[in-house]
C-alpha cells in the first residue's frame, strides 16, 4: 500500500536529508551540551564519592564556594585534633592541599597528600605502574626540619628546584586517563607551574584527582612557603552509622565547616547551577531553531505540493486525512532527525572524551526529553502548514498552469 508521506520523503532525498540533519543537529546539541556539562561535573562528583572518607572539613566562611577553591585553608593541626578528640570514632583525618595544575593542556585540581595517606584519595585503587612519590617521606621530614624546627627565612630562600628534585619533592602520580590523553608515562619529565616534575606512578582513574603530589611540596610551592596549612581535611570514621553525630562533634570542636563527602555532589551542582541554566537555554534556542526549520520546510512543502494536496481532496480526502499526511511527514522527518541526532551525540561524546578529559554522559532521561521535545516541536511546527493544506482551493490548484 502506498504511504504518501514516506514516498514524498524518499522522492526528495536531499531536501529530506537536510531537514533531518537540521533536527539532528538540534537534538545533538541538546544531548551533547547537557551531557558534557552534567557529565563532567558528575564525573568530578563521582571521584569525590570514591574517597574513603565520610566527612569533609573546610574553613568556616568558605560557604558554597568550597567546591572550586584551593590553596591555603585550615591548619594541619585540626587533623591531629580531630583524631585526638574523637578516639574510637575517627579512624584517621587526612589533610589535603588542593591546587590547580595544568597538565596535558587542561587544568586539573591536583591533590597534595602524604604518601602514607594517598590510598584514601585513590578510592582503593592500586598503582598500575611505577611507585608513589616521596615513598619514605624523606623530603617531607627534611622540609619540616628546615621550616618548622629551624624556622628560618634564609633557609626558605636557599631551597632551590635542584634541592627539591634531588630529594624527590617534584614527583607526580597521574591517573591513567590523563596519562593516555597527555601521552605521559612513568619516567617522563614534565614542566608544570614553572617546575620540572617527574612522573613516577600511574593509577587507574576514578580517585579524587588526576594528579597527586607530596603534600609538603604542594604546601611549600603553592602555599606561599607556609607548610602548616592545607585546603581541606578528609575524615574517615570507624562507624558509618555515627556520621551525623561525628559531624556535629567535629564542627563544635573545631569551629570549622563540616559536611558529608556525599553532599559534595549537591554543592557542586549548586555552584554550577547557573551554568546548567545557560546550557539549557542554549539547548532550547537550538531546538526552537530546529523546529522553525521544520515549520519552514513543511510550509514550503505544502506550497510546492498544492496540486497534489488538491488532488487528494478531489478524491474525497477529508481535512483530517490531509492533516495526517502533513503531520506524518513531519513526524517521519523528526524520527530520522532523532536517530541522526542521538547517533551523532554518542559519536561526539566519544570524540570529546578522546580529545579532552571532559566526560560526556548521555543519560536515557535526556534522550527521552530530547525525543519528547522533538516530537512536540514536530507537531507544533506542522500545525500552520497543515492548516494551509486544508484550505487549498482544489479547482485553482488543479487547473493552474
Amino acid at each position: 500500500m502506498a504511504y504518501l508521506p514516506l514516498a514524498n520523503i524518499l522522492h526528495h532525498k536531499l531536501r529530506s536529508l537536510l531537514n533531518a540533519l537540521g533536527i539532528g543537529i538540534g537534538i545533538c546539541m541538546l544531548l551533547t551540551l547537557s551531557g558534557l556539562s552534567r557529565g563532567s561535573l558528575g564525573e568530578i562528583a563521582d571521584r569525590w564519592d570514591a574517597v574513603n572518607a565520610q566527612l569533609l572539613v573546610y574553613p568556616a566562611g568558605w560557604g558554597e564556594s568550597t567546591p572550586t577553591l584551593s590553596g591555603v585553608g585550615l591548619s594541619d593541626r585540626f587533623a591531629q585534633r580531630i583524631e585526638q578528640q574523637n578516639p574510637g570514632k575517627v579512624a584517621r583525618a587526612v589533610p589535603v592541599f588542593l591546587w590547580p595544575m595544568k597538565v596535558g593542556g587542561q587544568d586539573h585540581l591536583a591533590a597534595g597528600v602524604d604518601p602514607g595517606q594517598w590510598d584514601m584519595l585513590a578510592g582503593g585503587k592500586k598503582l598500575s605502574g611505577g611507585r608513589l612519590f616521596d615513598p619514605d617521606m624523606s623530603f617531607a621530614h627534611w622540609l619540616e626540619k628546615q621550616l618548622l624546627e629551624e624556622a628560618s627565612g634564609d633557609d626558605l630562600a636557599s631551597i632551590t628546584d635542584a634541592d627539591l628534585a634531588s630529594r624527590g619533592a617534584l614527583e607526580l602520580v597521574i591517573d591513567s586517563r590523563l596519562a593516555k590523553k597527555a601521552s605521559l608515562k612513568v619516567g617522563d619529565d614534565v614542566h608544570i607551574s614553572n617546575h620540572n616534575w617527574k612522573i613516577v606512578g600511574v593509577v587507574p582513574e576514578g580517585g579524587l584527582a588526576r594528579v597527586y603530589l607530596p603534600r609538603r611540596t604542594a604546601q611549600f610551592l603553592f602555599g606561599s612557603g607556609s607548610i602548616t596549612k592545607s585546603t581541606v581535611i578528609f575524615v574517615d570514621l570507624v562507624d558509618d552509622e555515627g556520621v551525623e553525630q561525628a559531624s556535629r562533634d567535629i564542627r563544635n570542636d573545631t569551629r570549622q565547616e563540616v559536611v558529608q563527602v556525599s553532599q559534595y555532589r549537591n554543592m557542586l551542582q549548586q555552584k554550577w547551577g547557573v551554568m546548567y541554566t545557560y546550557v539549557d537555554a542554549v539547548n532550547v534556542v537550538a531546538l526552537i531553531i530546529a523546529f522553525l526549520f521544520i515549520a519552514v520546510m513543511l510550509y514550503t512543502m505544502v506550497l510546492q505540493r498544492t496540486r497534489e494536496i488538491a488532488l487528494l481532496k478531489s478524491f474525497g480526502a477529508s481535512s483530517a486525512f490531509v492533516i495526517r499526511q502533513v503531520l506524518a511527514e513531519s513526524l517521519l522527518m523528526t524520527f530520522a532527525g532523532c536517530a541522526i541526532g542521538i547517533g551523532v551525540s554518542y559519536a561526539a561524546g566519544w570524540a570529546i572524551e578522546q580529545v579532552t578529559l571532559y566526560t560526556v554522559t548521555i543519560g536515557p532521561h535526556w534522550i527521552a526529553i530530547a525525543i519528547a521535545a522533538a516530537f512536540a516541536g514536530a507537531v507544533i511546527s506542522a500545525c500552520y502548514p497543515a492548516w494551509r493544506a486544508m484550505k487549498i482551493d482544489m479547482v485553482e490548484a488543479l487547473t493552474m498552469e
Partner: protein, 217 residues
C-alpha cells in the same frame, strides 16, 4: 441521477469578475452516457468541477442521487466526492508515486483496497508494464491512461471526464472510448464526458452543446 438547476459561477471579484456559468440546467439519468461539447471558454470544465463537488456554485442547485449536494458541510461533501470518478485535463499524477501507487492512494483515500479490477484496467488500457514506473518516466499519453485507471478503479457511480482522449493516439483513444461504452452498457455506469471530438462524442448516448455558460437547446 444528477440534476443541476440554474447554475451560476464566476471567478474573480468586482469589475474583474468573469461570469463562466450563467444559469445552466442539466439533467442526467442513471446509466446515461452524456458528451458535452462546446467552444473553449464556454464553461465546460467549470461545469465538471461543480458536478465533481470540487467547488460550489454561486447560485443554483445540484442534486445527486436525490440529495442536494451543492452547499453541504465540507466533511459530507468529501464523503460524496469519494463516490465520483473524475479525469481532469491535466492528469495530476503524484510524481513521487509509481503508477500503481497513484491508483492505490486514490483507493486509500476512499477507504478501499485494490481489487482485481485495477489490474484489469491496467491491462485493458495497455499500461500494465508501467505499474512500477513513476510519472516522470512516462509519456503524456501513458500518464493520461494511468489517470483513467485511477478514476475508474473504485467503480464510481458517476464518472466525469474532461477531454480524456486529448493526449491519446488514435488506437488508445479507441480503446478508452470502447471501455467507456462497455462500462456504460454492461454496468450502467453514468458517464459525463467533455470533448472537442465529434468522433468521441458519437460514442455517447447523448450529446449536449454549451455556449456562453449555458446549454444550447
Amino acid at each position: 441521477m444528477l440534476q443541476a438547476y440554474d447554475l451560476h459561477k464566476s471567478y474573480g471579484r468586482g469589475s474583474s469578475a468573469v461570469q463562466v456559468l450563467t444559469g445552466l440546467d442539466l439533467r442526467v439519468e442513471e446509466g446515461e452516457f452524456v458528451a458535452i461539447m462546446g467552444p473553449s471558454g464556454c464553461g465546460k470544465s467549470t461545469l465538471l468541477h461543480l458536478l465533481g463537488l470540487m467547488t460550489a456554485p454561486d447560485k443554483g442547485e445540484i442534486h445527486l442521487e436525490n440529495s442536494r449536494v451543492d452547499h453541504c458541510p465540507r466533511t459530507r461533501t468529501a464523503v460524496r466526492r469519494r463516490r465520483i470518478g473524475i479525469i481532469l485535463q491535466r492528469f495530476n499524477l503524484l510524481p513521487e508515486l509509481s503508477a500503481m501507487d497513484n491508483v492505490e492512494i486514490s483507493l486509500q483515500v476512499r477507504g478501499l483496497r485494490k481489487t482485481g479490477l485495477v489490474d484489469e484496467l491496467f491491462e485493458k488500457l495497455g499500461v500494465a508494464h508501467l505499474k512500477g514506473r513513476k510519472p516522470s518516466r512516462m509519456s503524456i499519453g501513458e500518464q493520461q491512461r494511468i489517470a483513467v485507471v485511477r478514476a475508474m478503479a473504485h467503480q464510481p457511480r458517476l464518472l466525469l471526464a474532461d477531454e480524456p482522449t486529448g493526449s491519446l493516439d488514435s488506437k488508445n483513444t479507441q480503446n478508452l472510448l470502447e471501455m467507456f461504452a462497455r462500462l456504460n452498457r454492461e454496468q450502467r455506469q453514468t458517464i459525463i464526458m467533455i470533448t472537442h471530438s465529434a468522433d468521441a462524442a458519437a460514442i455517447a448516448g447523448r450529446t449536449v452543446r454549451m455556449k456562453d455558460g449555458r446549454l444550447l437547446d
